[in-house]
Subunit: 164 residues, 2 copies
DNA sequence: TTCGATGCAAACACTTTGCAAATCC
DNA sequence: GGATTTGCAAAGTGTTTGCATCGAA
């Protein structure tokens, strides 16, 4: 039962929906049935997704595309979601609540995102920002390349680019 | 006359236009007058820009929007340009030739990009990728926050959020 | 019972594409 | 002279918005 990350530093006793509720309250906004469904769908598992995927999943639950987009923006502003990357011209979202800071290795072949966390990285960025008098609030790091699965060819096949 | 970066490791004896020419040749493509104008405009100075800005600048030279977009993609593929960030829903380009690897501090207030380079960062990413069996080909790092200019308030003004 | 929220469709911003005419080699 | 490239405008994306209706507090 080992967790991929330590969750100790984050208060997880408040559910995402409750946290959203709090946020909405401060804005004089309401936690409607639709917004509730969206939060439920978004936090059903910890996977990366884009708006269109979510629209598709919520269509079955009779939530409109407009509402999904509107709510995604709210969830981002509320600190429950964040954009991590861009794939196929779409923003990719992931949970930004109850889950620690990390970055991604992005495979150019299969498009998979692999998460990693490095304390040294945070320290490094802190000192870089500091030396520029820059007040760091966050960062986004995408490492491009080929993931281990795609790197090992399944079996010997045709060469794509043989020298003539 | 100090340069911001060492250019020693890059062969700058070949101009961007020549390098583009080479690339086009390998693709059976031609270095037309329009493409030439675009390269000239792009490499006139070392500043960040987006497609729309370039379209605007080249309109005066009678190059169409479509050609600018098409050529930007070519220049990226040729390794002469790369996308560095996204601002206002637009991709921001910068030179990727005759200029060393670096990353950016992005100011959320004024939108300015400040370049920095860290060798330790490259090493760190290399070892992270390595430990995941990931073949790193490049990365993109954006550090968000407030730049030194925007951080120091011009003069004491109203507090935006006074406690009541 | 009052605002805020929803769904719909139209509007948007950025980018790509089909096609005939122009251009390059 | 034949293939590539251009400009134009139309089509495509992903996302936002105006508005009448609906619904939560």
């Amino acid at each position: 039962m080992s967790e991929p990350f330590e969750l100790a530093s984050v208060n997880v006793s408040v559910t995402p929906e409750e946290k959203f509720q709090e946020f909405l309250a401060t804005k004089g906004m309401r936690l409607t049935h639709e917004r509730s469904l969206i939060v439920e769908e978004v936090f059903a598992d910890h996977s990366h997704f884009d708006a269109e995927e979510l629209v598709e999943r919520l269509k079955k639950r009779n939530v409109s595309r407009a509402t999904v987009y509107r709510t995604l923006n709210c969830l981002e502003e509320a600190g429950l979601l964040r954009k991590v990357a861009r794939t196929n011209d779409r923003d990719v979202y992931e949970h930004d609540y109850g889950y620690p800071q990390h970055d991604h290795l992005i495979c150019g072949k299969c498009g998979s995102l692999t998460e990693f966390h490095s304390e040294s990285l945070s320290e490094l960025l802190g000192s870089v920002a500091n030396s520029h008098g820059f007040l760091m609030e966050g960062h986004r790091l995408e490492v491009y390349g080929t993931c281990s699965d795609c790197a090992k060819p399944p079996k010997r096949q045709f060469r794509k680019l043989d020298m003539i």
